[in-house]
Each structure stands twice: as C-alpha cells, then as structure tokens.
Symmetry: C2
Subunit: 346 residues, 2 copies
C-alpha cells in the first residue's frame, strides 16, 4: 500500500552514522561535525525522512499543540452545537483572536486545535484532551460570563491562559483590556463633539467587560453634569443592537449621541437610525467598540474604541508558552489600553 515511512534508523544507516547523531542534526543540537551534518542532511533528503511526532512527544512530553477553546453557555443538542460554532465564527472578534494566536504560534511551529466547550460534556472532553497530553496547554476564550472551565483547568493544574479576567478569581494568567477607560474615551469624544443627550447600548450585564465599559461611560458623563444616561441592554449581536436602538429612540426621540458596547450593535444602531432618516453623525453621533472589521465597512464607517485583539491574543499565546516552558510560574495579568479611532460616525 503506502510505502514504509523512513525512520531515524534508516537515515542513520544511509548516512553511516548512529541514530543519536541524526537526531542531533535534526534537532539542531551543536557538537556535530559540520561535514557529518552535511552528510546527514543529504541522507535525510534522499530518504525523505520526517520525524515521527508521536515518538518524539512520548519522550519530550511536549506536543507542539495547544487547545484553542471557545467556551460558552450550555446547550447540548447537535443543532445547538452547530449554532454555537456558527455564532462564534460569525462574530468578527473570534477571527481576530485566531489571527493573533496563529501569528505567535506559527513561527514556533505550534498549532492550535479548535475546541468548543459549551456543555459539561464538552468541558470534560477538553480536560481529558489536555490530561492525555494531546496538547501542551489551553487558550480559553469565554463567551459566557460565569464559565466553569477556567476553574476546572486550574484545579487540574493544567497550563491555561484566558482572554479576559474570569468572573470569579481563578489562579490563571489572563490578558484583558481596560474596559473602563474605553467607556471613558467614548464619553469624552461624544461630549467633545457637543452631544448633550447621549444614550448607550451596553453589552450583557452578566459580562464583566460590559459592566466596566458602561461604568466608565456613565462615570465620565456624570462628572460632566449628565447623571442620567438612558441605557438599553444588548447581546453583542446585530439584532440586539437594532432592537436596543429602536427602544432607545422610542423613549428618547431627541437623543444626539449613542455609545454601543461593540461594533456589531453600533452597526445595528446605524441601520435603525438611517431607516428613521437621522443623519449620522449630524443628527445622532454613534461610537462603537472593538474596531472590528465591521467598523470600516459600516455605513458610515464607525468611530470606535479600538481593542487590540490580535496583540492581546498573541500575548495570551506568549504567556501560555512561558507557562508551558516553565519560565513563568505565577499567574499573570496583562491589561491593554484601548484607543479611540475616529472615522465618520462621530
């Protein structure tokens, strides 16, 4: 059938040296005569040798693989799982996480295996996967606020790094954004351009990040003499943004500024506003959050609070790498600063 795969032994025989020597040149260990290196390299070429990773992993106890886990609230039917996966990918946020993670991992030849942990069973699978040594650690992105996975990972003593501070304290490293500052940035910008009747479409209040963006926004407005800010809660989706904006407009037809806690909801808000023939930013200024891909394609392009997701994700991978290599032992938090990106919507 498929011909036998060459092993270290074969290469050694071909090159007339020992397995150990071949192993040394394959792994780039020094202490090998340059001339012999060349001979071995040629033998590798000729035989078409590729090191068997299972054998290597068995002795090194490392796989060069990390689990990229998308963790969420828990439906368990097949349709629900499909929907979960589709929803995750529909959010431009996740694509940026992957880009950042892969950007760090790829140069190091480590690969991400995609896992969904939206049910108790799926969480068990993630733990089993890690315990079987199939991956060196886990990168966890929770969509759900009170995700049980981080605690399980920590208890099991498995290397893991989280995107966003967990709801309840867990001895795990994480990267996060200074969400409160982000809310402040949005408020200051709206105020600076003269808005006086501003409202906000906040994210799910069960999510700490939503709470903080809202708090930063509110506090700043209060400090500038606007103690009462209409709030509509959304779910970080386009639809929820549409619904929230519709509600807000019904109760406060005279508003002149809106801060949406992510770009998707901001886009929904813009859609509603345009349908109602409100000019953006003339009649109503709109500020989003994230600076995701939709921010640029939205009509009009969104002024938004940028979250450097790619950089954050890359750092998450870096932290995990350090934990796995053992050069970092204590849980560490890295908090990034948001930045206002001005486009046309405000």
């Amino acid at each position: 059938m498929s011909r036998q795969v060459p092993t270290l032994e074969d290469v050694a025989r071909e090159a007339g040296v020992s397995r150990a020597t071949v192993s040394r040149v394959v792994n780039g260990v020094r202490n090998v005569d340059p001339a012999i290196q060349e001979v071995v390299r040629r033998a590798i070429e000729r035989t078409g040798y590729a090191p068997n990773r299972a054998a290597r992993s068995l002795v090194t106890r490392r796989t060069g693989t990390v689990a990229l886990v998308v963790s969420g609230a828990g439906a368990s039917s097949q349709e629900a799982q499909d929907a979960f996966a589709a929803r995750v990918f529909a959010d431009p946020f996740f694509g940026r996480v992957v880009a950042g993670v892969v950007g760090f991992l790829r140069p190091r030849s480590v690969h991400p295996v995609l896992m969904f942990a939206e049910s108790a069973g799926a969480r068990r699978e993630v733990l089993a996967y890690l315990r079987q040594g199939r991956a060196d650690g886990a990168l966890v992105v929770s969509s759900h606020a009170d995700d049980p996975l981080p605690a399980l990972l920590a208890e099991a003593g498995l290397p893991a790094v989280l995107f966003a501070r967990p709801f309840r304290p867990v001895p795990l490293s994480y990267v996060d954004l200074a969400h409160r500052d982000g809310g402040r940035l949005a408020a200051e910008h709206l105020l600076a351009r003269g808005c006086r009747r501003v409202a906000t479409i906040c994210g799910p209040l069960a999510v700490p990040a939503s709470q903080e963006r809202l708090a930063g926004f509110r506090d700043t407005l209060a400090r500038h003499g606007h103690p009462h800010v209409p709030v509509a809660e959304g779910g970080f989706t386009l639809d929820s943004g549409i619904a929230a904006m519709t509600d807000l407009l019904a109760d406060h037809p005279d508003l002149d500024g809106v801060f949406a806690a992510n770009d998707l909801m901001a886009q929904g808000a813009c859609q509603v506003l345009r349908e109602r023939n409100r000019r953006i930013p003339g009649d109503v200024a709109v500020v989003g959050f994230d600076d995701s891909t939709v921010a640029a394609t939205c009509r009009p392009p969104l002024t938004t609070v940028r979250q450097p997701v790619e950089a954050m994700a890359a750092d998450m991978a870096r932290l995990l790498d350090e934990h796995v290599r053992g050069v970092r032992t204590e849980p560490t938090a890295v908090v990034f600063d948001p930045e206002l990106v001005e486009r046309d919507s405000a």
Copy 2:
C-alpha cells in the same frame, strides 16, 4: 512540581492485573471478565488515569486529529497572514464549515487542528505536519481557484478531502454543490415574479463555482428570451458587492432584478439600493446565494439559493474518515443540490 501522571502500569498494579488487561478494558475490547472489568474501572477511577496519546499513537499510527486547512492565494508577510486569517473568519461561510466538520468529528473524538496555507512555506508546513503523522488526514477549503495544495497532497499520498472540485483534476475526494442549478433557481425565481430587466453580480471568474452559477443563471434567462444579461464581477465581499451594484445601476438604471453570487454581495447590493431609495423587492428584487447568516439579518431578509454548507462539510469529514480507515480507496465526488429559500428580498 506537578505530580507524576499515572500510567497503565500504575492502574494494573492497583487492580492486581496485567497492563494488557487494563489496556483491553480501556479500549473496550471484549474477552475480559465482567468482574475484572469492574475492578479495573474502579482502579482507573481511583488513580485518575488518562491514556497517554503519544504512546498510543506510536503503536496505532493514528492520532484522532485531522488538519482543517484553509488554503488561499499567497501573501507571506506577517500582516498578510493576519489579514488572511481575519478575512477567512469574517466570511460567514467558514464558520459553517467548521460547524459541519466539528459536528461529524466530535462524536468520534477526533479534533481539528487549524492550519492556513496561503504561501509556499505554509503549504510545506502542512505537508510536513501530515507526514510527521501529527494528523490522520486533511480537510481542505480553498479560497483560491488554482490552489497548488491539493496536487501536493495527492502526490504525497496523504489522505485528504476537498471542499469544492479542484480547478484542475486531482485524484482526491471532494464535496461540491450543483452551482449551475443554483444559478438556474435564481433566474427562474426572478422570472416568475415578473422581473424583465435582470442583472447579476457574479463571483470571481477565476473560481469555477462563480463560472457555473453565472452560466446557470445566463442560460436559463436566455432560454426565456433574455440573451443579454448585464454582469458585474465581484470578489465575494461586501465591498465588492457595493461597488458592483453601483456600477450596474449607473449603466442600467431601470433594472428590476439582481442575482448576487453570494449573500455578502447581495447585502452590499441591498445597501446601495436602499441608499438610492429603490424599494426591495418592489422596485428591484434581489436574490443572494449561500443562505448564510447574513441572509437572515440583511434588510430586507434575503431570498437566496441555499448551499447546505454544514451538511457538505460533515460529508467531507465522513469521506476523510473512510479514506483514513481504509474502507474507501477511490477518490469520490459528492455533489449536493441547492435549494431556493424565499424571504423578503425577491
């Protein structure tokens, strides 16, 4: 540091049996006394044993992992790679592929490792990965028409299944859609609702699927007395849909129906139409393609030609599984039928 992980040996000692017996119960092999099975199971419980996958893979020569490869045209800078990943995930199409693949794989405890192959170096990495036995096979989704990866995979004799028929024949299994029929469905629907001046925003003509959707659309119209159909080529993105619709409208201000070769471009078309105050479908009917997530959230919701991506992706995984297990040896093509989904836009 982290306590020693229990091995088969430990469980065997704990249960008072041999390694072989423990292995048998772990792998569900029969010929084990039920009483002993129970003893072993308890020992596993007590020790918290989890089989080491590297060791198992070393002897079984199977990993329970498949590479999910997104293959594309070739930029090689870090930014280009980031952008590639972000773009891939921005397309709702890919999320559905993942959902379908995971739906099949998960019940079988096999996991997808995500790989991007947009450059020659990245392609080499994919081949090396497979040759090292780190994955049992590859599931390939090409965004680029003349992707060199399938041929490389076939030459190397590595198990692989493609999403969509490759540009030039390659001895690999693939799943695909009857795109031509999809184009026909769109044309028939537009005709049936009375449109007489229809145009189309086709996909990149370098992609076979685009060609076929266009051909099916054109042929059907021609057969009904409309030999000349204005065509604008897009790139399957929102922006390109906007540009194409703008052009079409400039040249043919009186058109009353548009078929866009995917939903993203249809959405762009709708945006332009609404800005121009054309009513949809009253003034201009719009038909999309894919029935992706944007179809439902578009304003108005899109009438579209459904491509059963999840089912196709699941079948792709099934074919690969069969090739890997050796129960299927010949390259096989599975072609799915499109279906018209009526919503509000046409």
